[in-house]
C-alpha cells in the first residue's frame, strides 16, 4: 500500500469505510481513545513551527503488515499461532476464535495497529442488519487489526478461479483505498515491478514509518516535506 500524504485531506473517509466494511464495533462513549477500536487511525502531524512557517499533515495508519525476515514483530510472539503472515499474499491476519487475548502482539507492535476488545461488541439495533456478512464480528477479550480487507482478496481469488484466471493473479482494492476521494491510497502487489504501488514505493518522496527498526512495513508514505519524513522515522 502507498499513501500519498500530500493528497490526503484528513477527511477520514478511509477510516469510516474501514469501520463499516469490517464490522468494527464502537461504544456510545468513545472518549477513551486508548481503548477505542480503530483499524485505520488518522494521525494529525505538525511541523512544530509558528505561523507563517506552520505546516501540518494527516497520516492514515493501517496495519503495516510487516515483511521483516521470518516473522512480523507480532506474529512470532503469539503463543497460540493466532496471528500469522500469509507468505503468498503477505497479509498478516488474526484468527479471532484462537486468540487467547494475552495482548503480547499489542505490546510487540510499535505502530499501535492492534486493538483489544475491552467490551462485548455491540451495535445499535438498527445497525445490526447493516453488518457485513463477509467479515466475522469479534468477541470480547480478543485482539483485532486491519487485514487489508482480506475477505475481498478471497472473493477476488474465487472470482478469478471461476473466470479461469490464476487466483494468484487476482487483484482487489481494500475499502479504505476505494473510499478515498483524492485517491491518496494506492493498493497493489509490491512484488510486481510494473504495479503502480511498486513504482510509488520507489518514488523519491517515499518513506516508511520506523524503517530503522527492520520491521519492513509494507505501507509506504509519500510526502515532499522532509519534516514529515523525519516524523515518520527517527533515522532521518
Amino acid at each position: 500500500m502507498a499513501i500519498d500524504l500530500d493528497r490526503c485531506t484528513g477527511c477520514m473517509a478511509c477510516s469510516v469505510a474501514c469501520q463499516a466494511e469490517n464490522n468494527v464495533s464502537f461504544r456510545a462513549d468513545e472518549s477513551d481513545k486508548l481503548r477505542s477500536i480503530t483499524w485505520l487511525e488518522v494521525y494529525h502531524l505538525q511541523n512544530g513551527k509558528e505561523y507563517p512557517d506552520y505546516q501540518f499533515t494527516y497520516l492514515p495508519r493501517p496495519c503495516m503488515h510487516c515483511d521483516s525476515p521470518h516473522h512480523s514483530p507480532c506474529t512470532f510472539v503469539c503463543p497460540v499461532n493466532a496471528t500469522t503472515r500469509d507468505e503468498v499474499s503477505g497479509i498478516v491476519n488474526h484468527i479471532y476464535p484462537r486468540c487467547i487475548g494475552c495482548r503480547y502482539c499489542i505490546v510487540a507492535c510499535p505502530y499501535h495497529a492492534r486493538d483489544f476488545n475491552w467490551w462485548d461488541p455491540k451495535w445499535p439495533k438498527s445497525m445490526e442488519s447493516m453488518l457485513s456478512p463477509e467479515v466475522s464480528t469479534r468477541m470480547r477479550g480478543v485482539v483485532e487489526k486491519c487485514t487489508f480487507c482480506h475477505h475481498r482478496l478471497l472473493k477476488a481469488r474465487s472470482k478469478a478461479y471461476l473466470d479461469g484466471i490464476d487466483p494468484n493473479e487476482a487483484t482487489y482494492v481494500p475499502a479504505c483505498a476505494e473510499a478515498c476521494p483524492t485517491k491518496a491510497i494506492t493498493f497493489g502487489n509490491l512484488l510486481d515491478p510494473e504495479s503502480e504501488v511498486a513504482k510509488l514505493s520507489k518514488d523519491p518522496r517515499a518513506f516508511r514509518i520506523l524503517a530503522k527498526l527492520n520491521t519492513e512495513p509494507k505501507v509506504y508514505y509519500l510526502s515532499k516535506h522532509q519534516w514529515v519524513h523525519k516524523l515518520g522515522d527517527n533515522s532521518f
Partner: protein, 415 residues
C-alpha cells in the same frame, strides 16, 4: 486436634490468635477473589490496561514474584546438586523446606493471577494445543506448568511430615520415598526454572520493534534471557532469608543458625555482583549501540514518573550497593545491614521487572507518539494483594503444622 497436628517439641501461638490471623488473611484473599471474579465476568475493561499498555500490574507482579520465588529452585540446586562438591552448602539444609514452600506459593500464586491476565481465560489451554514454538510466551507456559508440578511434588513430602499424617504408614512411606527422589526433582526443577526465568526475560528481549526492551543475544535467546536468570538467582535466596527472618520476628524465635544467613549473604552478594556487572554492560551496550541504531538516545526512554531515577535505583541503590555490602565481612556482621541489603536486592529485581514490562511500552516508539501513564485500578491491586495474602497463609499454615526448620527445637529449648 490443633495441638495434635503441631510438630513435637515446638511451641506455637494459641489457636484463637492463629485463627484470627488466618481469618484476616482469608478476608484479604476473599477481597481479591471477588475482584478477580468481577474481572472474569465483566472483562478487562475494569483494569487500567488499554491498547497502549497491553501489559500492566498483573504481568509485573507475576514476573517479580516468580523471580523472588527462584530461591526454591536455586537453593535446591545448591543443596541437592552442588553440596556434594562444596560441603559448606549443606548448611542450606536448615532452610531448604522454607525455600521450597516459598517457591511453591510464589509459582501457584502467579499462575492464579495469570488466569486473570488473558482476555479469554477459557481458552487458556490453547497455549498447549496451538503452541507456537517461536514464541517466548509458549516457553513460559510450558516451563511454568512443569515447574509448578515439580514444586507440588517437592511440597508433598514436607506436608506428609506432619505428625498426624506421618502416623499413616502408606503416607509415611510414600513421603519418605519422595524424599529419596527429591534430588532428581530438585535438579529437574532447576533445569525448568532456569528456562522459565530466562523465557520471561526473553518475552521482553525479543521485541525487536520495541527499542526499550529489545536486546541482541546468543542464538535465539536475547541477553535479557540470561539477565533474568541471574537476577532471579541473585535475589531469590535473599527473599527466602527475608521470609525466614520475618517468621523469626513474628514468632520471637530463632529458626535457623546465623551461619545460614551468612552463607546466603555470601552467595547472594557474589551472584548479585556478577549479575549487576553484566547488567551494567548490557545497559551501556543498549544505550550506546542499540538505541542509536533505532534512532533514539538514552534520554528518550525516560520521562516524568518513568524517569532515570528508576535506572539509578535499580542498578546503583538496589544492585551495586547491596552487592558490595553483602560481600564485605564487616558489614555482613550487622543484621540490620544484611537484611536491608536483601530487601534492597528484592526491590531491585521488582523494579527491573516493572521497567521491562510497563516502562518498555510506555516509552514512545513512533516519533509522533507521546508518553502515556499507566495507573492500575483496584481490580488489579486486589488480586495481587490477595496473592500475597495467599502466600502468607500457606507459609503460616506450613510453619504451624509442619516441621519446617530442623534446628528449631535445639535453637529454642523449652524453659
Amino acid at each position: 486436634m490443633d495441638k495434635a497436628l503441631i510438630p513435637e517439641g515446638v511451641k506455637r501461638c494459641p489457636l484463637p490468635a492463629f485463627a484470627l490471623w488466618v481469618l484476616v488473611l482469608l478476608g484479604v484473599i476473599g477481597w481479591g477473589v471477588y475482584a478477580g471474579i468481577m474481572v472474569l465476568l465483566k472483562a478487562l475493561n475494569l483494569t487500567g490496561l488499554n491498547d497502549y499498555f497491553g501489559f500492566g500490574l498483573y504481568i509485573t507482579v507475576d514476573l517479580a514474584i516468580i523471580a523472588l520465588g527462584a530461591g526454591a529452585f536455586f537453593s535446591g540446586f545448591l543443596y541437592y546438586g552442588l553440596s556434594r562438591f562444596f560441603p559448606a552448602l549443606k548448611e542450606l539444609h536448615k532452610i531448604i523446606n522454607l525455600a521450597v514452600i516459598v517457591g511453591f506459593v510464589c509459582y501457584t500464586g502467579a499462575l492464579a493471577v495469570l488466569l486473570l491476565e488473558i482476555g479469554q481465560p477459557i481458552r487458556g489451554w490453547f497455549g498447549y494445543w496451538h503452541a507456537n514454538v517461536h514464541s517466548m510466551l509458549t516457553e513460559v507456559i510450558f516451563c511454568i506448568t512443569c515447574y509448578a508440578i515439580v514444586l507440588v511434588i517437592e511440597y508433598v513430602p514436607i506436608v506428609l511430615e506432619n505428625r498426624k499424617l506421618s502416623e499413616i504408614k502408606p503416607l509415611r512411606l510414600f513421603g519418605h520415598n519422595l524424599h529419596e527422589l527429591m534430588a532428581i526433582f530438585a535438579l529437574t526443577g532447576t533445569f525448568l526454572s532456569f528456562f522459565h526465568q530466562g523465557s520471561l526475560g526473553g518475552v521482553a528481549g525479543v521485541l525487536f520493534a520495541r527499542p526499550f526492551a529489545y536486546r541482541t543475544g546468543f542464538f535465539i535467546w536475547p541477553w535479557t534471557f540470561f539477565l533474568f536468570i541471574f537476577s532471579a538467582i541473585a535475589s531469590g535466596p535473599g527473599f527466602t532469608a527475608l521470609i525466614c527472618r520475618a517468621i523469626e520476628k513474628v514468632t520471637g524465635k530463632n529458626l535457623v543458625d546465623r551461619s545460614v544467613y551468612e552463607l546466603i549473604a555470601k552467595i547472594v552478594g557474589g551472584l548479585l555482583l556478577f549479575y549487576i556487572t553484566l547488567k551494567i554492560a548490557d545497559t551501556l551496550y543498549w544505550a550506546l549501540v542499540l538505541a542509536p541504531e533505532a534512532g533514539l538516545k538514552l534520554t528518550d526512554f525516560y520521562w516524568g514518573p518513568y524517569g532515570i531515577w528508576l535506572l539509578v535505583t535499580e542498578i546503583i541503590i538496589c544492585g551495586v550497593i547491596p552487592a558490595i555490602l553483602l560481600l564485605t565481612p564487616q558489614t555482613r556482621q550487622s543484621n540490620i545491614i544484611m537484611f536491608s541489603m536483601f530487601f534492597l536486592n528484592c526491590v531491585g529485581v521488582c523494579i527491573n521487572r516493572f521497567v521491562m514490562t510497563v516502562q518498555a511500552i510506555a516509552a514512545p516508539v513512533m516519533p509522533f507518539d507521546k508518553w502515556e501513564i499507566y495507573v492500575p485500578t483496584v481490580y488489579e491491586w486486589a488480586p495481587c494483594i490477595a496473592m500475597v495474602a495467599y502466600c502468607i497463609l500457606i507459609i503460616s499454615l506450613s510453619y504451624r503444622y509442619l516441621p519446617l526448620f530442623p534446628r528449631e527445637r535445639e535453637l529454642n529449648p523449652a524453659p
